[in-house]
Point group: C2
Chain length 424, copies 2
């Protein structure tokens, strides 16, 4: 198998050329029926299954190179494909074919005084750029979500997964062709030159929206450089606030789950806020510590639980993504709201309370993409939200927020049907 | 009356300080009931009426300075306020109080398998920046739309309207205070230093969305420099396509209205596309020319109407905003679609046709924020669309498109109400 060759090509010209093809494909995709898109997705899933051997062989090259380069075991695990993982990738693509197609949906209709029948109808955004790191399954996931929502996609994967991505992309294109869909609907940037990422981020008019998928470094770079809209979250500094009225058993279960179920996901709790009037604070901190979590508290928390470490000022602004939590004692709901307003990252915050008035104020006033009452922050996930999948979780304030799947990859147009109206 | 003094202050620090106050005010506004916001708007309208003398006196200073500076009569007219115009400004603010409040609206609800009751609820965006030119009524219009949708606003008007804007802003603040709303909800940048605009455009985390209101130069600068999302349109290169099946009387009425009702608005037709098979093309061109419109045609159009001027290549990409139109003869629907895809600006495009199949293809395939069938492009307006007002018309692909009023100034959050769920 040939390894990729970085030919000398101006990255702006390269991305512009990919974009021109993608724009034409997007025009065709936007006109497809739901049945056509589903046929395409099913063919893409079938092609991945059929290319299992090629994909695994390509992945073996990436794995060998990655081992030589001394990548961490966590990175090697993210990169590694197995027959099961290839099957799961194909299943994921096929699943998108079962989701509700948002394109063509009428958002609302009105007939204003001028008598023109107006409707707002969902349409695809156009050309989506995906910039991602080592997980090769993103190649299939992201492509499927874009095709399912009628968008063309330009994929730019990590250099360590280049062979795997090429093999998966080849299968996806084969599936598109089998179904009679334009092959240019899913394009893979054919160079690992980092300047190509810059060209994608600068691609106004070429790429309509960029979705970064990967670590904080990648997301921060994309947000800093992008001249096109970005759908992303940088941090998940998520809080669970245990109110005085909380059921102690529920509080313990939710706090332990929110922190410890999986510590590395963006929906994990990082800071526990306990109401000064909550009577079982010491027990709650002890229960969290007993799971193996390192707990770092403020003075009031350490007065209740002297064994925990002191929290530094920076702890309140830290996304640990590991078995560490900060704990602060706050003055009721207002103390919790003030802490979250100051330190939160607008991702996911939860309250545990039996008092519905307090809970509703929390849900209303916490300015985050996802706010939860009596449920673990670990539910922040498109699958758990009934979306069937997700292209990512967004903490920006415009367009789509929280878990984003097919609908978030659409926009709308106004359609007016008249009978000869002219404006007075 | 004192004229504004440009004190030496770092524009970034200035905008950050305004933004901090605005962010706090936005928090308070986000929690207001519809009734409270309406009370605020009505008080703002009353305060404008009460300040009529002060506003007119301030405007007289701006007008005198503008005349001294030799501004064009069109610019002087935009700047000029009269008792009628002040009353219209107050009425406009009061009208916003009658519109449906989008904040708090449940977009959809679902209870996925985990049993958490999920709803998506509209919330204000936060802090909106408005950058505008000579019309002082934008100060009141934009502030009212932002308050009506629960957003704080930072206003940056043109230097030629500085005294008028200050007087209107003072009235708006008085109204806010009268109604018990935070005065910092509507802020006016207290300097005409152009660097303040740059600081607003760079204000990530300070300003959530910028709306430029003014000429193409302003919009282009804002789009080029902004690091925050921009809601705007640059061009309105709008087309009317007259299909072979069009009713000739309707075609003539719509084409003349679309071009000539008001030539200077963004919804005006700039290019007329006539189907080669439309039998009355010569009459249509003659009718348009007879209104005093300068018509510039391609060779095929000139073969039908030899008196018209030849169109240059640049004509197809020109927004005249005056009594000039370009005319091209195209090969049916596909020719029209290709022309619009190449030269359109995604604003408003219309088809005149009796053939519903052709019309529906046009509505589906033209990639513009507004597409119309048998109606004049001059209807591109929030008031005509039943929105009651508009903050602007957007041709971007994300968030809101077409005429944008209160709903386009909101986003949503996910609210989950559980009963102790933790994730498996």
């Amino acid at each position: 198998m040939a390894t990729i060759v970085d030919v000398e090509i101006d990255p702006t010209a390269l991305i512009a050329a990919l974009g021109r093809h993608a724009r034409i494909a997007a025009g065709a995709l936007g006109r497809l029926s739901t049945a056509d898109k589903r046929r395409g997705l099913i063919a893409m899933a079938r092609a991945i299954r059929g290319a299992e051997a090629a994909i695994l062989a390509a992945n073996a090259i990436d794995m060998a190179n990655a081992e030589k380069a001394g990548l961490s075991s966590a990175m090697l695990d993210r990169l590694n494909l197995t027959p099961d993982r290839v099957a799961a990738m194909a299943d994921g693509v096929a699943t998108i074919a079962t989701l509700k197609d948002p394109v063509g949906e009428t958002i609302d209709e009105t007939v204003p005084a001028n008598g023109i029948h107006l409707s707002r109808v969902r349409v695809p955004i156009g050309v989506i750029g995906i910039i991602y790191e080592s997980r090769p399954n993103v190649t299939a996931d992201a492509a499927a979500l874009c095709i399912g929502s009628g968008n063309a996609v330009i994929l730019r994967g990590g250099s360590e997964a280049v062979e795997s991505n090429r093999a998966i992309h080849a299968a996806l294109v084969e599936g598109l062709k089998d179904a009679g869909l334009p092959a240019e609907a899913v394009q893979l940037v054919p160079t690992t030159d980092r300047a190509a990422v810059g060209a994608m981020l600068a691609g106004e008019g070429v790429i309509d929206m960029v979705v970064p998928r990967g670590g904080k470094g990648l997301v921060a770079r994309v947000q800093a450089e992008a001249r096109v809209p970005v759908l992303a979250h940088l941090d998940g500094i998520n809080h669970v606030f245990v109110h005085a009225s909380a059921d102690p058993a529920m509080a313990e279960t939710i706090v332990v789950n929110a922190k410890m179920r999986r510590t590395g996901i963006c929906g994990a709790m990082e800071t526990l806020l306990i109401d000064r009037d909550y009577p079982r604070a010491a027990d709650l901190i002890a229960a969290l510590a007993a799971t193996g979590c390192e707990v770092r508290g403020d003075d009031a928390a350490r007065a209740l639980a002297p064994d925990i470490a002191p929290a530094a000022k920076s702890d309140w602004d830290t996304e640990y993504l590991e078995a560490i939590a900060s704990v602060a004692i706050v003055d009721g709901l207002d103390g919790a709201l003030a802490h979250i307003a100051r330190h939160g990252s607008h991702h996911t915050d939860a309250i545990v309370a039996e008092d519905a008035t307090v809970a509703e104020r929390f849900l209303g006033e916490v300015d985050s993409a996802i706010v939860l009452w009596n449920a673990s922050t670990q539910f922040a996930d498109g699958g758990e939200f009934g979306l069937g999948a997700e292209i990512g979780i967004a903490t920006g304030r415009l367009h789509a927020r929280g878990p984003v799947a097919l609908e978030g990859l659409t926009t709308y147009k106004w359609i007016g049907r008249g009978t000869g109206q002219v404006r007075a």
